[in-house]
C-alpha cells in the first residue's frame, strides 16, 4: 500500500469527495421548517462533525501515547523510537484542539441566532449561553491547553515524552464524561441534552442522515490529512535537530 500513491492518498480523495457532497447537498436539501433555526439548521452538517473529528484525533493521540509508554518499558521487545511516537501524539492532539476550537466558534455563531436570538447584543450571554455541552467542550479545550503547557515546561526530551504521555491518557479519559456522560444527564439548550443520547436518535430525517454521516467521515478523513501533514513537520524538525546536534558534536571532537 505504501508504494501505491493512489491507495496511499485514498483518504484525501475520500475527504474531498465527501466534503464536496456534504457542502453542495447540505446547502440545497430541503430542511424541515423551524422558525427559530431558519436556514441556519443546515449548520448541523458542518458543526456536529467537528466534534467527531476531534474525538477521533484525540483517540489517535492517546493511542500513540500508550505505544510510547510501552516502548519505554525496558522489558518490551520493540524498536520503536519513543520520541517519534511523542511527535505523533502531540500533533494528533494539536489537530484535535484545532477541531475543538472550530466546533466552539461555529457553535457560538449558531447559538447566537437560535438560542440567544432575543438577548441584547451587548450582553455576554448573547454569545455564550453556559449550556452544559458548550461548557464541557470548553473544559476539554482547557485540559488540552494544559497538555501543551506541560510539554513546554520540560527541556529534556525523554522526560517530556513520558510525562506528557501519562497526562495525555488522563486528558483523553476526561473526554468520556465530558462528551458522553454529561450531555446524557444534564438538561441544556442542545437538542440532544438530557435525552440519553450523544447522537441524534430521532427528529432528523433519513435525508439529513444521508448528508450528516458522509460529512462526518469526510471531516474525519480531513483531520487525518491535517494530522499527517503536521506529523511530517514534526519528524522533519526532529531530523534537522539531530543532524545539527551531530555536526556540532563532530566539530567539538575535531577541535579537541
Amino acid at each position: 500500500m505504501k508504494n501505491n500513491p493512489i491507495l496511499k492518498n485514498s483518504y484525501k480523495f475520500l475527504a474531498i469527495g465527501l466534503l464536496l457532497y456534504a457542502i453542495i447537498y447540505g446547502l440545497v436539501v430541503e430542511m424541515p421548517y423551524n422558525p427559530i433555526w431558519g436556514q441556519s439548521s443546515r449548520a448541523i452538517f458542518y458543526h456536529v462533525p467537528m466534534w467527531f473529528a476531534m474525538l477521533v484525533l484525540m483517540g489517535i493521540s492517546v493511542w500513540h501515547s500508550v505505544r510510547l509508554l510501552r516502548a519505554l518499558d525496558p522489558d518490551a521487545e520493540t524498536n520503536l523510537n519513543p520520541l517519534y511516537l511523542d511527535i505523533k501524539a502531540k500533533e494528533a492532539a494539536r489537530v484535535g484542539v484545532f477541531f475543538n476550537i472550530l466546533g466552539l466558534l461555529t457553535g457560538i455563531v449558531w447559538s447566537r441566532v437560535t438560542w440567544n436570538e432575543n438577548i441584547p447584543g451587548n450582553e455576554f450571554a448573547a454569545w455564550w449561553g453556559w449550556d452544559p455541552i458548550q461548557v464541557c467542550a470548553l473544559v476539554s479545550l482547557l485540559i488540552y491547553a494544559a497538555y501543551f503547557l506541560l510539554r513546554s515546561s520540560f527541556s529534556e526530551d525523554e522526560s517530556r515524552a513520558k510525562v506528557s504521555a501519562v497526562y495525555n491518557i488522563f486528558a483523553a479519559s476526561t473526554l468520556i464524561p465530558l462528551f458522553f456522560v454529561v450531555p446524557r444527564v444534564l438538561e441544556g439548550l442542545h437538542p440532544t441534552a438530557g435525552k440519553g443520547s450523544f447522537i441524534f436518535k430521532g427528529g432528523i430525517t433519513t435525508e439529513i442522515r444521508m448528508i450528516l454521516y458522509p460529512g462526518l467521515i469526510g471531516f474525519i478523513c480531513l483531520g487525518i490529512w491535517l494530522y499527517n501533514l503536521r506529523h511530517r513537520t514534526g519528524t522533519l524538525s526532529m531530523r534537522i535537530e539531530e543532524m545539527l546536534a551531530e555536526r556540532s558534536y563532530q566539530k567539538n571532537q575535531n577541535n579537541v
Partner: protein, 65 residues
C-alpha cells in the same frame, strides 16, 4: 500580537452583527459557519504545507553540505 480589545469591541457592537447574521432567514449565520470552518482548514493546510516545504529545503541543504 492578538488584540483582545478588538474582540471586546467586536462583541460590544454585536447588535449590528446580530442583525447581519439574521439576514435571509439566518442564511448569513450559515455562511459565517462555513467560512469559519473552511477558512480555518485552508489556512491551516496552507501554513502547515509552507512549513513542510521550508523544512524539506533546510534538510536538503544540510544533507548537501
Amino acid at each position: 500580537m492578538f488584540n483582545t480589545s478588538f474582540v471586546f469591541n467586536f462583541l460590544l457592537q454585536s447588535e449590528i452583527q446580530q442583525e447581519w447574521l439574521m439576514v435571509s432567514d439566518k442564511v448569513n449565520s450559515l455562511l459565517v459557519i462555513l467560512l469559519t470552518i473552511f477558512g480555518g482548514v485552508i489556512a491551516y493546510l496552507y501554513f502547515t504545507g509552507k512549513k513542510v516545504k521550508e523544512l524539506e529545503a533546510q534538510l536538503d541543504e544540510l544533507e548537501k553540505n
